[in-house]
């Protein structure tokens, strides 16, 4: 499955709607495509349906109408047994981190690799490399509750990217961190995008989205519009924050 430019379509929503029983319509006739290697911001006010859209995208729920295709698989037709394989190709940074609070930083980040059946020596190597790269090498054994909000965000992000997902979905990844870490995270996402990962970042911070550039999807009242970006003010971390060094080499697990 590809586009006119010949690129593979990673995500395709066709007339997708979501409505809770006896509740309001959260999403209404949403259609869009994300090509392989794309980087999109998803913006919109709180309550616009951004998180719901992302939840559908990372297979946490099914739509009440329409069709969602991920990596060429119609998710409505995919059996339950097929879903784990699809999910392993998706990295998710949850809005509330969703770290497992009894696991150390190391073990939280190692989860996707262990679930994928990676050898423990590879797990250690990749996780330590990645945590060093995001500056948490001194917190390998720390439990989430011993970390600051920003550090937890970094752990959640590291967990999402450690398996080199084909699609990275980030729900308000900068909502709990200061500008310095926010820009650092954005550069991490850009670096992964440069390495071939399709990235979707939901944020209500339009300033940050405008600063980084890239195409924008805008949600409002359950509907989606494509916005064309202005010329980035200071692309590539022009805020003065240090640009991350080259991302550590991590073998894909999908």
């Amino acid at each position: 499955m590809g586009t006119a430019e010949g690129k593979e379509v990673i995500v395709r929503f066709e007339g997708v709607g979501l409505k809770y029983p006896a509740g309001p319509e959260i999403l209404d006739d949403v259609s869009f495509e994300l090509e392989d290697g794309a980087f999109h911001f998803l913006t919109g006010p709180s309550g616009a349906g951004k998180t719901t859209l992302l939840r559908l995208m990372y297979l946490a729920m099914r739509p009440t109408s329409g069709r969602i295709t991920l990596f060429g698989d119609d998710t409505a037709k995919a059996s339950r047994a097929r879903l784990p394989a699809l999910r392993r190709r998706i990295g998710v940074v949850f809005q509330d981190f969703r770290l497992l609070d009894h696991l150390s930083t190391f073990d939280n980040v190692a989860l996707p690799l262990r679930i994928a059946g990676c050898h423990e020596s590879d797990v250690r190597e990749h996780v330590v490399d990645l945590l060093s790269w995001v500056g948490l090498e001194k917190h390998l054994e720390a439990l989430p509750q011993a970390l600051s909000g920003g550090q937890q965000q970094l752990v959640a992000t590291a967990r999402a990217v450690v398996g080199r997902p084909k699609l990275l979905i980030c729900d308000e990844p900068t909502g709990n961190v200061d500008d310095h870490i926010a820009v650092r995270l954005m550069h991490l996402f850009q670096e992964l995008n440069r390495l071939g990962t399709t990235v979707v970042v939901a944020t209500h911070n339009r300033t940050l989205a405008g600063r980084i550039g890239h195409r924008r999807l805008r949600m409002e009242h359950g509907r989606l519009w494509m916005e064309h970006p202005k010329v980035p003010e200071q692309a590539n971390g022009g805020s003065g924050a240090p640009r991350p060094t080259e991302a550590p080499a991590i073998e894909g697990i999908a």
């Binding site: 297979l59 946490a60 339950r80 879903l83 999910r87 497992l100 609070d101 009894h102 262990r114 679930i115």
Partner: protein, 293 residues
């Protein structure tokens, strides 16, 4: 198996503290029930082997000593001519009197009690004699001679033992069901407590079997711990009973000593219980997760 790292904080579940003790109590009861079955089964086997190869011939009292002697000789003649019979010997009157002593007190042969004559018949190993045919031949040779192959008595005894065995089996099954039920309850409770973490694991790409294995490993460890805790007092109880029974050696009680093989079977009980707990937890998790996306 026990070195498995768990992604879920299952060891914090309150039910995890209660489950091993319930399993321990159930295993204690199972040890006693199973030991009872093993002893009864062993005793029944010994009786069947012992009585199955013997016959008793009873000859009604005669009017005179000569007539009694003639009847005895005729009966012995018939018996010794039977190929399956290894040997046939009259039981002395003194021994008959001893057998009757519990009911009649000390019997004095001189009192002229009309005691029947008894012949103890030992069959050859594997000798499968046709008891009906032999009884007919005896009756033809010696009017009033009765052949007792103990079958009726033995059948009743075996039926009783079989009933006890079935009851003990039901008790063991019930114990297994109680353990399985407790594991199902604890597992469902654990699933509810860890639902959020399980959803995270799913969204990261974990299959149901990955989550189920964590619950199954935990149930196996708890089952084994509870099993061993229950086995130890069970064994102590059996040793105590064995020592009490030893003081009654020669009395009316059969031999209650457990054979080495029986101890091995009892030692396997905690492992069996742990495996039941593990499989139950796994099936419970797989069924419950099937309803999740």
């Amino acid at each position: 198996m026990f070195g498995h790292r768990s992604d879920l904080a299952l060891d914090r579940d309150p039910l995890d503290r209660f489950l091993p003790w319930l399993i321990a109590f159930m295993v204690y009861l199972a040890v006693l029930a199973l030991a009872g079955v093993l002893v009864i089964n062993d005793t029944a086997g010994r009786w069947e082997r012992g009585l199955g190869s013997t016959l008793t011939v009873q000859i009604a009292p005669a009017d005179s000593t000569e007539a009694a002697g003639a009847r005895l000789r005729s009966a012995l003649g018939v018996l010794r001519a039977t190929p399956e019979v290894a040997h046939a010997e009259p039981i002395p009157e003194s021994r008959i009197a001893a057998l009757l002593e519990p009911w009649l007190g000390e019997v004095d042969a001189a009192l002229d009690l009309p005691l029947p004559q008894l012949i103890d018949v030992q069959l050859k190993p594997g000798g499968d004699v046709d008891a009906d045919d032999l009884a007919k031949r005896l009756a033809a040779a010696v009017p009033g001679a009765v052949l007792d192959d103990h079958r009726v008595w033995l059948d009743r005894l075996l039926r009783l033992i079989h009933t006890v065995e079935v009851l003990a089996g039901l008790i063991l099954a019930l114990i297994g069901l109680v353990i399985a039920g407790a594991v199902v309850y604890a597992t469902r409770s654990g699933l509810a407590v860890h639902l959020d973490a399980i959803e995270v694991l799913h969204l990261i790409g974990a299959q149901d079997s990955y989550v189920a294995r964590q619950f199954a490993d935990r149930a196996l460890a708890l089952g084994l711990r509870g099993g061993v805790i229950g086995l130890l007092p069970g064994v102590a109880t059996l040793v105590g009973i064995d020592q009490l029974a030893a003081r009654l050696q020669g009395g009316p009680l059969p031999d209650l000593t457990l054979a080495p093989a029986h101890w091995v079977i009892l030692a396997v009980l905690p492992i069996a219980v742990a495996v039941i707990a593990m499989l139950t937890a796994r099936v419970t998790v797989m069924r419950n997760l099937a309803s999740m996306l």
